[in-house]
């Protein structure tokens, strides 16, 4: 935002600044309050009106100062019934605390020594139900914008002394608090170090959301595929932590990140663990099929109708030909018109307020779709395919990968137009190469397909029952890879014993 201002003194901590300079600078703001108290305690109280909790100052600090005669900062420190008080004369610390919502008290205006009293106002959204990753069964909590609340949500579910929370401040201007969570003794130290190192290496002025972090610490920032999984469900984060993954929570963002991740993880929903394993596996397979359908259906339509109509059996050909008879465009143009319409609807629906968005979606979808077919601009077979493909792309449980799928099908269409099915194959091969090369925090992204890890296949395309999940995934290279003792769990009993 203020990158052009780089180098000007205002944003850099000035090491020669005195407390007086600081106060002068702060007093330019309307919400800066500073006043002197006289009897019985002589002191100067300053704070940002908008940053502090009025209750703290009115009920705890001012009564104490007015009731007792306190003549030193130490005396105040001992008498004011608030925790976290500190006396300091370091301007940098004072500035930092002041900006975070501390009240500072000086004995005299010219004093260098101050008492800082934390009185941060906690304006937070309440923990509510997850909206993006909603599931019918299972917990209904979602992360909120406050880091402390989010860590609390995770800790509540994982009451372990081994759960380590490390914190770094990122962003030259915003100094955003970013927490790294992992379970000691399970998570691989190498992964933790990589994440920590990459977070510390970030050079940017502001971090507004966890998605900034996703893009900044990604192994390949030019990839359309997200390399960290973002979730708004605390239960999903704890699930990942227990598997030996690392979670990143960012202050001000209601989405946590987990890593290292794999491509198949993006197609697993938290529902998969709440349902019996056969149902869950079936649904997961349907989801994977939906993704493939969503990406390949329109390119195949283009390829087959443009070059390989011999492939369509006679009876089916009649249906398709009759629906395409009056269409003035070649398949590629027809597809692009319809795909762009769908993308337009989707984009408009995402930008508009919820109620208007729904209406526009229905009006746009039904009216434009029917009108386009009746006007003879597109065939209704294609309309069905495109609508189904759009629907299928919404089945992805993680929003980020849905966006990727949305974009990825366009190169396939170009390939199909160039060389038919062979073109589709070539584009697919290109994406396979890309996925094979891709890494998430240094761990292969295309696992467990390649490198082939049979052990991790138990929770990839299908989810086997919990009693078969005795090992943590190899992907994370956990220190302790055993979830439970498989031997004891699988002791078989004979009939009538």
């Amino acid at each position: 935002m203020w990158k052009w201002k780089k180098g000007s003194g205002d944003q850099q901590p000035n090491h020669n600044e005195t407390l007086k300079d600081l106060m002068n600078k702060l007093s330019q703001s309307k919400d800066f309050m500073s006043y002197e108290l006289e009897e019985p305690t002589n002191c100067v109280v300053s704070y940002f009106e908008t940053m502090i909790e009025p209750k703290t100052i009115n009920r705890l600090i001012l009564p104490t100062l007015k009731r007792n005669a306190l003549h030193s900062l130490e005396a105040m420190k001992n008498n004011i019934p608030v925790e976290g008080l500190a006396v300091t004369d370091d301007v940098n610390i004072i500035r930092h605390r002041f900006m975070q919502g501390h009240i500072i008290i000086q004995m005299k205006k010219s004093d260098k020594k101050v008492l800082t009293i934390p009185a941060v106002v906690a304006e937070n959204r309440d923990v509510s139900i997850p909206e993006v990753e909603f599931s019918v069964v299972g917990p209904k909590e979602a992360f909120v914008e406050s880091l402390d609340t989010n860590i609390n949500l995770v800790r509540k579910r994982l009451t372990l002394p081994q759960l380590i929370v490390k914190e770094v401040n990122i962003g030259k201007l915003t100094k955003t608090r970013v927490a790294i969570l992992y379970v000691e003794g399970v998570a691989n130290e190498e992964n933790v170090n990589t994440v920590e190192q990459r977070l510390e290496d970030i050079e940017y002025d502001q971090i507004n959301d966890s998605s900034y972090i996703t893009q900044m610490i990604a192994d390949n920032s030019n990839s359309p595929f997200p390399q960290l999984l973002d979730t708004e469900r605390p239960d999903r984060v704890t699930g990942s932590l227990v598997e030996g993954k690392i979670a990143i929570l960012v202050d001000g963002s209601p989405h946590g990140l987990t890593c290292p991740t794999t491509i198949v993880e993006f197609f697993s929903a938290s529902d998969d663990y709440f349902l019996p394993w056969h149902l869950a596996s079936a649904f997961r397979l349907i989801r994977l099929f939906a993704v493939i359908f969503s990406v390949l259906s329109t390119p195949l339509y283009i390829a087959i109708l443009t070059y390989h109509h011999e492939m369509i059996p006679q009876d089916l050909l009649a249906t398709i030909v009759s629906s395409r008879a009056d269409i003035p465009f070649p398949p590629i143009l027809e597809v692009i018109i319809l795909e762009l319409t769908i993308e337009l609807l989707r984009e408009a629906g995402a930008r508009l307020p919820m109620k208007v968005g729904q209406t526009i979606g229905i009006v746009g979808g039904i009216v434009i779709g029917t009108a386009a077919v009746e006007a003879g601009l597109t065939s209704n077979v294609l309309l069905i395919i495109v609508a189904l493909a759009a629907l299928a792309s919404f089945t992805t449980p993680v929003y980020q990968i849905g966006n990727t799928i949305r974009l990825v099908r366009f190169p396939f269409m170009i390939g199909a137009q160039l060389w038919g099915l062979v073109g589709v194959s070539l584009v697919m091969a290109f994406f396979i190469a890309h996925l094979l090369k891709l890494r998430s925090i240094g761990r292969p992204f295309f696992a467990p397909i390649y490198p082939l890890r049979f052990r991790d296949l138990k929770d990839a395309f299908i989810r086997l029952p919990f009693n078969k999940q005795s090992q943590r995934p190899i992907q994370t290279r956990p220190i302790d890879s055993e979830r439970f003792n498989q031997k004891r769990a699988s002791e078989k009993r004979d009939i009538d014993e």
Binding site: Y307, H308, E310, M311, I312, P313, L316, W419, G420, L421, V422, V424, S425, L426, A429, F430, I432, A433, H434, L436, K437, F446, I449, Y450, P451, L452
Partner: protein
């Protein structure tokens, strides 16, 4: 054993010994399998399936020799040649191998392009397709051997369902065609076996990527297993073709396997060969990638130049050659030429085996 030649390859670039299965198998199966039936039936007729088995056994023998040579020397092709022949003669042979691998890639790419021209797009511009395919191969190869092996894995997985479609022609075929009548002389069967051996070309690459194998000793069984699997696939393809076609008809079918795909019939899809050829792009891709990788790896090992530069140079060569060879007869000639060269390189392996064996004996004698 002399392990001083060992070439250090960083741990994270190694492939597991299981992956040798993929490497050997996917290099052996390429475009050849789409049209080999005609050539092996030329001499031995329906008895050619015996020839495939003989060829399979021969390949196992050669594989055994390659492993023996590699284990005795503990390096790769370049270091073995240098230690056996010295710098100059060894270097020449190395360059010969490098060109041979390049030739393999070129043949595969040109033949596959021809298949697409014949079966799908007669009007297709060869240079555009070759360029796209080579760029794709470049993207793979720059990822290193591990990424190429990943493609091998996917090509084997994608190739499996294609095998199932062999079931369709069997339904309409004459199974008694392949009853072992043996109405050809041993000589004819052996000539046919020589022809079939050529279908298995490519496993010599083991000589180059051997240092990249983790626990190389345990990879031996995987290499043999891969070769066995390839033999079985060839055998199955040949048998299906023999069941479906008559002996005379077989001589007029250039691409036996592709023609058989035409029989596949689903309620939603006919003329499966279009799909089959599109999927075959994945089977061909590892061939080209591995060939180019090995071809460019040899000069890197010899002269210590960056593999990237040699790769680009080789790709330009392949690209120009692909455009220049634009005639059915030339392509046929290219295939025949590659097969002949390939046969000599196969025959060279026993020679190298004997030389290494003598060297080892001499060394042991000297030491004692």
């Amino acid at each position: 054993m002399n392990n001083t030649n060992k070439i250090p390859v960083p741990e994270h670039l190694l492939v597991t010994s299981t992956m040798v299965f993929l490497l050997v198998h996917s290099m052996q199966v390429g475009v050849g399998i789409l049209g080999f039936e005609k050539y092996i039936a030329m001499d031995a007729g329906y008895d050619a399936w015996i020839s495939i088995l003989i060829a399979g056994v021969a390949i196992h023998l050669l594989l055994f020799m390659i492993y023996w040579i590699l284990e005795a020397n503990g390096g790769d092709l370049v270091s073995i040649h240098t230690s056996v022949y010295g710098k100059i003669l060894g270097g020449l042979l190395n360059i010969g191998f490098s060109f041979y691998f390049l030739l393999l890639s070129l043949t595969v790419l040109r033949t596959f392009t021809e298949i697409i021209q014949v079966w799908v797009f007669p009007q297709m511009s060869v240079w555009m397709f070759a360029l796209a395919y080579l760029l794709l191969a470049y993207y793979f190869i720059t990822g290193g051997l591990r990424i190429v092996v990943g493609m091998c894995l996917l090509s084997v997985i994608l190739g499996l369902p294609l095998l199932l479609f062999k079931f369709f022609p069997i339904q309409n075929g004459q199974v008694d065609n392949v009853y072992p009548l043996v109405d050809h002389s041993i000589n004819e069967i052996l000539v046919s076996a020589k022809t079939s051996t050529l279908s298995f070309l490519g496993f010599e690459l083991l000589l180059v990527f051997y240092p990249f194998i983790k626990n190389a000793a345990s990879s031996k069984k995987w290499a043999h297993f891969a070769s066995f699997y390839t033999t079985m696939i060839y055998l199955a393809s040949a048998l299906v073709a023999f069941i479906y076609y008559s002996e005379e008809q077989l001589q007029f079918v250039t691409w036996g396997t592709i023609s058989l795909w035409k029989i596949v019939d689903f309620p939603f899809m006919q003329r499966f060969e279009y799909m089959g050829i599109a999927l075959w792009a994945y089977v061909v891709l590892p061939n080209i990638c591995l060939g180019l990788w090995a071809a460019s790896r040899i000069p890197k090992r010899m002269f210590n130049i960056k593999q990237k530069y040699i790769l680009i140079l080789y790709m330009v060569i392949v690209f120009i050659a692909t455009i220049r060879i634009d005639d059915r007869n030339l392509i046929d000639g290219l295939n025949t030429f590659t097969n002949q060269i390939g046969f000599y390189f196969l025959m060279y392996i026993p020679v190298l085996f004997v030389l290494t064996w003598i060297m080892k004996k001499v060394r042991i004698a000297n030491e004692s």
